[in-house]
């Protein structure tokens, strides 16, 4: 019986991450890292923002937006390193960096959002 490949799972997560990041990341990055810090838009008060994020639905949404796109990065970057720099022989090292980074990011976001 052939071994069950893990790649289909990785590819599915990569695709999901791609969709999430395509739809949600541009506006979030623009607002929170550019428009608000630079004062282009009047910022919402700390309390209203805090309240909005603390809602269970928001926490779930943010967890998805923080973890799936990270997986998208990991999978894509891994193949970019394989093909772009031809360092596939370092694949154990690359896998640890990429997928390890995702696990760290996911755990951190789960922790932060759970204890918000």
């Amino acid at each position: 019986m052939a071994k069950r490949p893990i790649e289909p799972l990785f590819w599915t997560l990569f695709s999901g991450g791609g969709v999430i990041s395509a739809f949600f990341v541009p506006i979030l990055l623009f607002l929170f890292a550019l428009a608000l810090p630079l004062g282009w838009i009047t910022a919402p008060s700390y309390e209203s923002l805090h309240h909005l994020v603390s809602l269970p639905l928001s926490r779930l949404f943010l967890f998805v937006v923080c973890s799936l796109p990270l997986f998208h990065w990991a999978h894509r970057f891994r193949y970019t390193l394989y093909d772009g720099l031809q360092i596939k022989h370092l694949n154990e090292f690359i896998n640890v960096i990429c997928y390890g980074g995702v696990i760290v990011g996911t755990v951190v976001s789960a922790y932060l959002l759970w204890n918000f």
């Binding site: 991450g17 395509a22 990055l29 890292a33 630079l38 923002l49 973890s67 998208h72 990065w73 894509r76």
Partner: protein, 142 residues
């Protein structure tokens, strides 16, 4: 039974002439504009990763209190981070654009027996993207 089969060629004999195998250059992605565009598209994942990190910092700052949030805002307004953010934003936007055109080609959507043209799928993606972005912006800023 299932053994990975790498590149195969007929067996070599002492009298078999030597084939020429050109090694693919490490800079293969610079030799052609289409290859370069492809690698740029793949590097958009770095912009996505940067955005995730910023979001996590934001959530952490919000949970720590108004002062932490203020400090983060000031940090984000510094020239270095603004430059990084602008670059990441361009990368992320490039990701969105290329992702919509890729997913149109990768999916076969059939309606009434005929295949929906890719342009329509991309267009509906863009509309959905604008609606979602508008909704999020309204939710966060009201």
């Amino acid at each position: 039974m299932s053994v990975p089969i790498a590149r195969s060629t007929p067996p070599h004999t002492p009298y078999h002439p030597r084939w020429y195998r050109k090694r693919v250059s490490t800079y293969w992605w610079l030799l052609q504009w289409s290859y370069f565009r492809f690698v740029l598209r793949e590097l958009t994942s770095l912009g996505v990763a940067y955005s995730c990190v910023i979001l996590l910092c934001l959530i952490r700052a919000l949970s720590l209190g108004p002062q932490a949030y203020e400090d983060l805002q000031k940090r984000l307004a510094s020239p270095v981070l603004v430059a990084l953010t602008v670059v990441s934003l361009l990368l992320v936007l490039f990701h969105t654009v290329t992702w919509f055109s890729l997913s149109a080609r990768a999916m076969v959507v059939r309606m009434g027996g005929k295949r929906v043209p890719g342009v329509l799928i991309s267009a509906s993606n863009y509309v959905a993207w604008l609606v979602v972005s508008g909704l999020l912006a309204w939710l966060l800023l009201r």
